[in-house]
Symmetry: C2
Subunit: 304 residues, 2 copies
């Protein structure tokens, strides 16, 4: 079961983090950007950069999170790069989280589930383990993802409390029953995950909970004991290890923390390896190791 | 301004509808499906079907709505077909609504805005006029779409009250201030549209309001006088013309109604043109004309 395997990989590597491949063109270092002159497409450069990052971190992190928006922005060629990136990460034994935040009515959600969970030739799902989705449409928009996740041994993360500054505008509104919208969404996610738990007590239906909101995270962690959290917001978005410890349960279990810019752009803030062609990747590894140490210093040893 | 032009096209054609190109493989008629043997990809057949539908309706409807999930399900080839379909519709003078329901935090929403509104070589945005988005993340997730829409003369439809059976689970919950979640979302959308109104009084920031919920539509229509509505749910999903009249204002203004299966699959329920190779397209035109008559019988002549 995918969440069990992810947990085992996190324990094995003692690293509850994933590297976010939100690869914006402006993140590419000169030595890759200069290929533009002889290459046919920017997407090829993005892929080369992703390859180098994956090669430099695959032995120390359990997963990557690929943010599809950066690839969609480059059109069809970008989507080809998205697929190649997912495939390359998978080939290196990494869990692949597709950060797509998809949502739609039942019949259409079924198509998205095929796209990102389907194993058939041509589908992105061949290289993807976990997908982020948006629950604004209610349970008939989520059921196709849950059903397909069970059939294909995949998992999903539903947006509950997002990491962005204005997430509270809707998510923190009080309902007439006393709960906030995010608490209500959290309760619903916990319910969607019923009957889909693995041996460590976490279900296939997880939640996105931003590290930037420790108070909300504390509340959600209590309300959602069976939900595995995907935790954005560390690093460039402003959250530190102390803030996100509330997202975890005993033994540092129950979550995986993402960092994107903090890893991909580490080379821009470093003086190391100045004369190495591959310094962006070396700095990324360095930053990923620092992030791991930082989290472990707060969470302690990760164990089941 | 895009909404003004759309309104003028609706008046010119006396037709406040759009055809939904949610082209599932099982919608394809035999004479297109039999190409599978000699073609390299199902996406080519989907495109051929879309071409025929567009050719058969472009003179009588103002717009198409292309549901990207059906194309994403076919991977990179599917996204190529999505782009070609949008381009072909645009070439025929149709407004193109990309039904993508995208949402993310600010920096990522910027990438989506580039993808679907950007005019640069390679971007889907070259062929798209309007985009559906999801507002669960709050205003910093929507601002990039609004800004880009202003720059590139595009428009967006934010999910407010969706047409699916379980949409009320979250959207109809009561807030402590007495509003429902969908009313709150509606008020927010109206606010996001401030300063972006065209000469007919409608802003670039519209709303998705399902025809399947007439009571909610009535309430939203009053609260959102400046928001243009994209109205799904007619036909296969169960709403009729009488139910959706509440989505409109004086003169039949303020909305565009989508039908997908009801048009694309009309040939499956018809005996007409049995020996014509192009009967699916002929039946689609027939169904689109019937839908127009049905709506006009309730709305009367459309005028500014």
């Amino acid at each position: 079961m995918v969440i069990d395997s992810l947990i085992e990989k996190i324990i094995e590597k003692q690293n509850p983090t994933c590297v976010g491949l939100d690869t914006a063109p402006e993140y590419l270092p000169e030595h890759i950007r200069c290929h533009w002159a002889v290459r046919c497409h920017l997407a090829d450069d993005i892929f080369e950069f992703n390859e180098r990052i994956i090669e430099s971190i695959y032995d120390i992190v359990p997963a990557v999170k690929v943010q599809v928006a950066y690839y969609e922005a480059l059109g069809v060629k970008g989507m080809e790069c998205f697929e190649k990136t997912c495939a390359y990460a998978k080939k290196h034994g990494l869990f692949v989280i597709a950060d797509c935040k998809r949502s739609d009515i039942g019949a259409t959600a079924e198509q998205y589930a095929k796209a990102y969970f389907g194993a058939e030739e041509g589908r992105f799902g061949r290289y993807i383990d976990l997908l982020t989705v948006n629950g604004y449409l209610g349970s008939d928009g989520i059921a196709p993802f849950v059903n397909s996740a069970k059939e294909n041994d995949k998992g999903l993360f539903v947006l509950v409390k997002t990491s962005n500054p204005s997430s509270g505008e809707l998510q923190n509104l009080k309902l007439s029953d006393g709960r906030t919208v995010y608490e209500c969404m959290g309760d619903t996610v916990e319910k969607w995950g019923e009957g889909a738990c693995g041996k460590y007590g976490y279900s296939r239906v997880g939640a996105v909970v931003g590290a930037t909101y420790p108070e909300e995270a504390k509340i959600l962690r209590k309300r959602m004991p069976h939900s595995f959290f995907l935790i954005p917001g560390y690093g460039a978005q402003g959250a530190n290890a102390e803030m996100l410890k509330h997202c975890f349960q005993k033994g540092g279990m129950g979550g995986i923390v993402n960092s994107s810019r903090g890893i991909l752009c580490a080379y821009q803030k470093s003086d190391k390896w100045q004369y190495y062609d591959n310094r962006a990747a070396l700095c990324a590894r360095d930053a990923a190791l620092k992030m791991k140490e930082d989290l472990l210093s707060v969470l302690g040893e990760i164990h089941a």
